[in-house]
Subunit: 342 residues, 2 copies
């Protein structure tokens, strides 16, 4: 395989495809082509960003092109499992927008195909892999500067932008529900920072409190995880108010035995400009770290994994475990607000 191998995109149904493609280009790969059905909302923005990437009229032209070892998938969530399986059977490695799949039955089929084909089934947990402040936080934690990680609190507010969203976005059976979908980011970060392989779901709840006209949608979700000496609280919502200068005031609090880290990932409300703010307090230090220049190693590592058949970008078992927990948390969740009627 050439050092600068080719990749293609299948499905432009979520804007996350922009970051996925940008990351692989930055890692030295060549964006060969894309296929998508119809004219999804992100298509225009995609073509502005990647004007030279040709669209193919049949997805088979990507699946059957043996010069393309990696495909990025951002079709609607309920279509991801079957497509990824088909692509892996064609010998492709896969990077998916989250969630990678939305039912346990899909996940089981994916596990079997990965085991049989040896392909990579990777999910781009963009709230870690595309956030330099998380890279920096991992360095700090690995260096022992906050001791043993006992807890993470992840707050994941998102701007709804309902008028820009497709139908599937509001249908639990197609997007996987709020914990099954954007919950994956936060579960990923808990397992990553605590080094746990999996966790027990201590409590989960979902609600629709602000969108009575969209009964299949969930605008609120919360989840408590527990694994040995570590615990997590996770809150997701779709309530980002218009006056916030970014899509969401995403926070991550990492509490250790010797100190704590707070990330203000996308905005420091009424504070410092820009993104990627890290605060560290421990026995000796009380520091602010501007993390804009930190690396995003996921993409370079994934490119190496595709070439060298290594497993450095993200452990396959971790991606499965995150996905399984998200689906189970969603299935078990107490239903609140307007969801109680359904």
């Amino acid at each position: 395989m050439p050092e600068q191998f080719k990749f293609a995109a299948i499905g432009l149904d979520h804007r996350h495809i922009f970051g996925m493609a940008k990351g692989m280009i930055a890692a030295g790969c060549r964006f060969a082509s894309f296929w998508t059905e119809g004219e999804p909302q992100p298509l225009a923005g995609f073509q502005r960003r990647f004007p030279d990437v040709p669209r193919v009229d049949d997805v088979r032209r990507i699946l059957e092109d043996t010069s393309i070892p990696l495909v990025l998938i951002a079709v609607p969530p309920h279509e991801r499992a079957d497509l990824a399986i088909e692509a892996m059977r064609h010998g492709k490695d896969i990077m998916l927008d989250k969630p990678g799949c939305i039912t346990l039955e899909e996940l089981e089929r994916i596990r079997r195909v990965v085991a049989k084909t040896g392909r990579i089934w990777s999910v781009d947990f963009s709230e870690r892999f595309e956030v330099p402040a998380v890279t920096k936080a991992a360095e700090i934690v690995r260096a022992g500067r906050i001791g043993e990680v006992l807890q993470t609190i992840g707050l994941g507010p998102h701007r709804l932008n309902a008028h820009l969203r497709p139908d599937w976005f509001f249908d639990e059976r197609r997007y996987g529900g709020i914990l099954g979908d954007i919950g994956t980011h936060q579960i990923d970060q808990f397992l990553y920072f605590t080094g746990k392989e999996t966790a027990r779901i201590a409590h989960s709840a979902i609600g629709n409190f602000n969108n009575p006209d969209r009964p299949g949608f969930q605008d609120f979700g919360e989840l408590n995880l527990h694994a040995g000496r570590a615990q997590a609280y996770i809150r997701l919502d779709w309530y980002t108010p218009d006056a916030l200068p970014n899509w969401g005031d995403g926070r991550l609090f990492i509490l250790g035995t010797e100190g704590y880290v707070e990330l203000r990932k996308y905005v420091d409300i009424n504070g410092r400009p820009g993104e990627n703010h890290l605060f560290l307090v421990n026995g000796q230090d009380n520091e602010y770290v501007d993390c804009r220049e930190a690396d995003l190693p996921y993409f370079v590592n994934l490119a190496r994994d595709v070439r060298d058949r290594t497993e450095t970008a993200c452990a396959q078992a971790h991606t499965f475990s995150v996905t399984e927990l998200a689906i189970k948390a969603q299935q078990q969740a107490e239903r609140r607000g307007y969801l109680k009627e359904t």
Copy 2:
């Protein structure tokens, strides 16, 4: 009763007595005397702050002094119920350090004595009543600036200062456990900001992760509450690191349908100096509010309630409800870390 009535203090076993007394003096009352057993650690600091207040050698001199309508109680938590009951039977109104009591049996006896005597049994939830930023947040919420309150997240880290703590501080049967004790502050704020009378405990857990030599102590606690369309997540801990310039990085996030408020009560880490920082984001506004000058109405209102037999400082039913939830959350909590051995 004179406009400037007298009050006395019983028990100087917790430094909270300083704020309790200071508040009543600021409300125009006269600090007549105090009684405490032995030489508790806060005594020296108390006598520096209140050098003119005489110590009496027998608690009966306070209980039987009919010119004193209000007593402040800060004996160790397990002694509070019996003492408050005795004082109420002597015709006194009561303000207690939190927790007001630590068992359901105590609470039931207190309810009966309050019903019979008509006395006031008030707990100084100091993380609300002594924090000007909370007064300001309540104004903002009441004005509808964040819509309907759907959730509060309260983070209550505390500095341990183990060498300054008495034995009872580390004994669950005497201090009531982490949720029963400092959990009351956070439960109070959830019920207050959502306007709920009580809540269901959706999940609670306590842990000792960092103090293996103190098996009766809990350095971590968490609690999820649910009431109709409102929910809370609460985390308490005793991990404040030494480099933090105050005793704890207390936060309160109030999430509404139309916006949110964040309080950084005691410190804005690596940000603005001082205490009482409020951040508001909604559809139109993205504001920072310095709340140092906001009022603390609890004390003035309590003085009026004592004089006029009104119920303006804090509803009696609310104080009972907070205390009951804290005790039940503590009793039901999953036990983690070194607590699992006990």
